[in-house]
Every structure is written in C-alpha cells, then in structure tokens.
Subunit: 158 residues, 2 copies
DNA sequence: CTTGAAACATGCTCCGC
DNA sequence: GCGGAGCATGTTTCAAG
C-alpha cells in the first residue's frame, strides 16, 4: 500500500489524527463525514500499513525547564565511513541531542540540541560535541522564537 | 505549577506518554509502578497544567510521498521589525514549510521544508521563498539520512 | 494512597445489506 | 464496499478503608 492508494477520506483521517491523536473513532467519523465502521477500518489499515507510525504526547519544552534550543551545523573532516558512523553513534547517545540528520549542502550534520540554560549548552557543546573525533567546524544557531512549531506533515496540501 | 513540582513519578508518566500516547491509564500505572488512581490524577494534572500540550499521531513522511526534507537557512537583508513580521507570516502560510524558527548566530531563520521531489523543491524555493522581500541569502541543507529522528524531549535525563 | 465498584464511553467483531 | 447491533474492554468518577 503506497501513497497512491490514499483517497480523500484517508487523508482526512490522517489529518485529524495528526492534529489530535486522542480523537475517538466516532469523533473521526463525524469529522470526516463517514460512519464509524468504514472509518474504523480505514484507520486500522493506515496503522497496519505504517502510515500511522504511532501516537505521542506533545510536551511543553519550556515547562520542562529546557529553555535553550539550538540547531547545530557540524562539518566533519574526513568523510570516511567509519568516522561518520562513530560520530552518528556518539551523537545519538546524548539525551541533549533530540534529533540528528545527515545533510548535503553547506554542512554534514544538523543536530537539534536542548539544554536548561546557556551555561549548560556551552559546557555540553564544548566538552561533548566539540571533542568528538574528526570535527572540522561547528555553528550554533540559537532559537530565539518559534515562528511555526512542527505540528505534522502536509497531508492534503497541493 | 513549574518544573520544580515534578517528581520522579511525574517524569515517568511524561516519559511513557511521550513514547506511546495511546497507553491506557492502567498501563501507565503498571509501567510507572503505582496504582491506577494516583496515576490517573497525576496524568490529569500534567494535562491541566500544560505539561502535556496534546496528543498526535506520528505519520510516516515517506509513505505520504514527501521524499524530500530540507533545512533552509535564510538571512534577511534589513532587520526591520515590519519586514521580519511579513516574512514570518508569509513563511508560516506555506504548507511545505512544516516548521520555522527565528535564530541567532549564523542565520536569521531556519525553515524545515518538505516536498515530493527535488523538482518540486526547486520550484517552491525559487518561486516562493526566494521571492519574499528582503532575502539576502539562502542555503538549502538536504536531508540524506535520519540519524536520530525526533521522539520527544529528554524528561529524566541529567 | 489504596481498593472496589458503578456508570459510561469506546474498541472491536460479527452479520446483513 | 457500507452501516448497525452487540459484546468485551477501558476510562472516569466516587466512596470507604
């Protein structure tokens, strides 16, 4: 089952659950204009086929005391496979690194890092990230304002 | 109620719901080693006090046909408040832009953009983003590999 | 804080259309 | 494929120890 098999009703279900994962089947059915049985079957099919990977609570970062959010661009020296793999493994093990992507273009890796405050970030980036082997350059982009926080993928757009 | 009011039990609840938002109260109670009543009260308190902002289904981007994920760093010319506000408003209205942050450091804004393919991204970035008023520089970092996808904030760490 | 129970809503299956 | 009826399970609230 691929994206071509999704019809408008499937997309409405995905959209609804992406905005509120606690919707009951009857609520989804009502919102998407179908009755409960087909709605339930479709939702289950979307789950079984991996379109819906799971459900998560969204937690307020600032309430948790994680006031500092930084996007760190990292360039590594050598592009040897072993070194890249070591970097990836090390980086993924830090709880402060909440996401990490290998990127092409200006940099090699993009890390999303959270800390309680600037002191903690300075300490972490200098003693943990910076000291990983093969790091050539590092630039920290501190988040000043969340213009549009992530709330899901565009399901029905364009 | 602030972060200081969270004890270990609260953190375990947040951690559990962050990894699986569909856990039933009895399952959370079992996982966190308490009985159902206090567990239910604590969960409700975390929701009421905004620690838990909501629940969302996690959807597989690639299954949706959104194969291209790009982090775009944007520098704007003038830092006039009006121009920045116009940029923010315009950018937030694009469905392809799934998140946007104002950052300090190397760039001014960091955008997370998804498209079906490279052609669509080229078209979008050139005709929509690039043409916004006041853009000085733009660098596209294409995601090659997801090393560590975002799965929530560190709740109990450090 | 815990147990237990009652009322209610929901998830899920089955069957007929 | 759709929709409805029915049962089993889970949630939510409350009272008592």
């Amino acid at each position: 089952m691929t994206v071509q098999d999704l019809d408008a009703a499937d997309r409405r279900i995905l959209d609804a659950l992406q905005s509120d994962g606690k919707l009951s089947n009857s609520e989804i059915a009502e919102r998407t204009g179908m009755s409960t049985s087909p709605c339930w079957r479709r939702t289950r099919r979307l789950e079984d086929n991996g379109f819906i990977q799971g459900y998560r609570a969204t937690i307020d970062r600032n309430r948790l005391g994680l006031g500092v959010l930084v996007f760190v661009l990292v360039q590594i020296d050598t592009h040897s496979e072993a070194e890249a793999a070591a970097f990836e493994k090390a980086v993924a093990s830090f709880p402060q690194v909440v996401s990490c992507f290998s990127v092409g273009g200006g940099a090699d890796f993009l890390l999303q890092v959270v800390c309680r405050n600037l002191d903690e970030y300075a300490e972490f980036s200098m003693t943990q990230i910076r000291r990983l082997p093969g790091i050539k350059a590092m630039s920290s982009n501190f988040v000043l304002k969340e213009i549009k926080p992530f709330e899901g993928w565009p399901v029905s757009a364009s």
